[in-house]
């Protein structure tokens, strides 16, 4: 998109009915490194590719714990992500304090949507420049995966990906999404790693430093797997197939891509 006279502030519509500032905010998400999320009937797995600014620098953390039953993966402006995750943590704490129960994922995501929308309608403010993948496990309704974007759209998914080259990950996820339901958590992680690998540039590969996995599910509090603990999973990725998954298809037998249900 090119600069035009309707993109100076959030409260100006273009003649085509678009708010350019929101679209520019979505660009910030697309420029961030990839994050992938997928869920089965018992677990949600979030994976992220961590960028580093140079050889000597650390890799930027992309996965954050919100509560024992909830975690997020981000893509975009990390500072905005910190503000939103602080908000989420406060809301989760309030729910436990007032009602002695973990905050249901869907409600928290609605609150994020309301908060994000306010920034798209008040003059002088700007949309948040970060996309969130929210994974939660609710005691009554099971695992949930949500995508929250700067345009204040918060949708639920079986599998989704955001950030740079996320379309490649989405293509992989679409092909195998119908298998995710009943597989165990390790098979789910492996599918996630396959999807994440699709987002890498030609000469790069997943290693212990640039990769991060978050898991939450039934009887499984939010846990981040990083560093040396990744070795087992990356080795399995290298060796080719996910032998534990009931629906693990070899590359030759790719089924037709299917539209994803989002409810």
């Amino acid at each position: 998109m090119f600069r035009n006279q309707y993109d100076n502030d959030i409260s100006t519509w273009s003649p085509q009915g678009r708010l350019h500032q929101i679209e520019y905010a979505l660009e910030a998400v697309k420029q961030g490194s990839a994050s992938v999320g997928l869920r089965s009937n018992t677990h949600v797995v979030l994976l992220a590719l961590k960028r580093s600014s140079g050889e000597l620098a650390s890799h930027q953390q992309k996965l954050f714990r919100i509560d024992n039953h909830m975690g997020i993966a981000i893509a975009g402006l990390v500072s905005d992500a910190r503000v939103l995750s602080n908000f989420m943590r406060t809301e989760c704490m309030k729910s436990k304090m007032m009602y002695d129960r973990p905050m249901p994922g869907s409600r928290l995501v609605s609150l994020i949507g309301d908060k994000a929308q306010a920034n798209t309608q008040n003059y002088g403010r700007r949309p948040y420049g970060v996309g969130l993948l929210v994974g939660s496990y609710d005691e009554d309704t099971g695992p949930h995966l949500y995508e929250c974007l700067p345009n204040a759209n918060c949708l639920e998914y079986f599998a989704v990906s955001i950030g740079a080259k996320s379309q490649s990950a989405k293509t992989y996820l679409e092909k195998f999404a119908k298998d995710f339901g009943d597989i165990d958590v390790d098979a789910l992680i492996l599918h996630g790693l396959h999807a994440l690998r699709e987002t890498l540039q030609q000469d790069k590969e997943l290693n212990l430093k640039n990769c991060s996995i978050g898991v939450v599910g039934k009887d499984h509090d939010w846990e981040i797997i990083e560093g040396d603990r990744l070795k087992a999973y990356l080795d399995q990725l290298e060796s080719g197939s996910s032998s534990t998954s009931t629906g693990g298809a070899a590359a030759e037998e790719l089924p037709q891509g299917e539209a994803m249900d989002t409810e």
Binding site: M97, M98, Y99, D100, R101, R107, D140, T141
Partner: protein
């Protein structure tokens, strides 16, 4: 006429409004909003803040007992105005959700206010429409936080509440007093009940070896026995009460009932007008 009790006995404020026709700004009225909220002063309506110092229309004991299969509660139908037995058809056991009952002793207007607060919470939950409901222990946590918050502002809700319910096969029974103290047990009794009925309830539980050895019929017997003792000995009670039963099937609040009593011994008493 000055309608605000807190002004009675004090000289009228300097601002001239001979017949108190409009709210007059008080000289400590101009404080920042945050201070007003926390400190509680800064009102611009001409009278000082007053806090609840004593209850007006009150209910007496509420009893609660866990048994095999659920929770049972009892409360009489009386709301007293001091020593006057003023309102004799009040329902002090309130169904909050399909699986939770709130019993109230103490100030009845504060009970009505709490009913309103809980209604608001239920409506919020209903509107979220996402498969989650408030179980008894969620309501309990909310309610004791409210009571404690009011106590901390030196303006208590003058009640002792009993909350009983069932969630996913587990029974819940707890009390919260006006100071915000939560207390859970297999037997609960408030007011005079805590002195007269609680020993009966505890003895039954102990003798039978726990709530899972008390049947529904036995729970009714035990509560009726306790209500009888209270009718004999609590001067602010009434022999017309209801029982509430909560099981995994739901809530049933009975019609009003009475206990048989024996007053024949009174014939033999000398003194006190005889």
């Amino acid at each position: 006429m000055d309608h605000f009790p807190t002004n009675w006995g004090n000289p009228r404020s300097e601002e001239v409004d001979s017949y108190n026709t409009y709210p007059v700004a008080s000289h400590i009225g101009n404080v920042p909003h945050s201070v007003r909220q926390i400190a509680g002063y800064g009102h611009t309506n001409g009278h000082p803040t007053s806090h609840t110092q004593s209850p007006v229309v009150t209910g007496t004991s509420v009893l609660g007992l866990k048994y095999k299969g659920g929770v049972m509660m009892a409360a009489d139908n009386l709301a007293s105005y001091g020593s006057l037995a003023r309102f004799r058809d009040i329902e002090r056991l309130h169904k909050v959700t399909d699986f939770t009952v709130l019993g109230a002793s103490g100030d009845m207007s504060d009970f009505q206010y709490v009913k309103h607060l809980l209604d608001s919470q239920m409506i919020k939950e209903y509107n979220a429409d996402d498969g989650h409901t408030l179980a008894t222990h969620n309501i309990y946590e909310y309610l004791w936080r409210v009571m404690y918050n009011r106590r901390s502002k030196m303006n208590p809700l003058w009640n002792t509440f009993v909350l009983g319910g069932v969630n996913k096969g587990e029974s819940f029974l707890g009390a919260i007093d006006l100071k915000g103290t939560p207390y859970q047990s297999a037997s609960i009794a408030t007011g005079f009940g805590s002195h007269l009925a609680q020993p009966i309830l505890r003895k039954e539980l102990e003798q039978r070896g726990g709530e899972n050895n008390i049947t529904e019929e036995q729970a009714v017997e035990i509560l009726k026995k306790s209500m009888k003792v209270l009718w004999y000995r609590d001067a602010r009670s009434m022999n017309k009460f209801q029982l509430a039963k909560i099981t995994s099937e739901g809530v049933t609040i009975s019609e009003s009932m009475s206990v048989e009593t024996e007053w024949g011994f009174a014939e033999n008493i000398r003194g006190y007008g005889a």
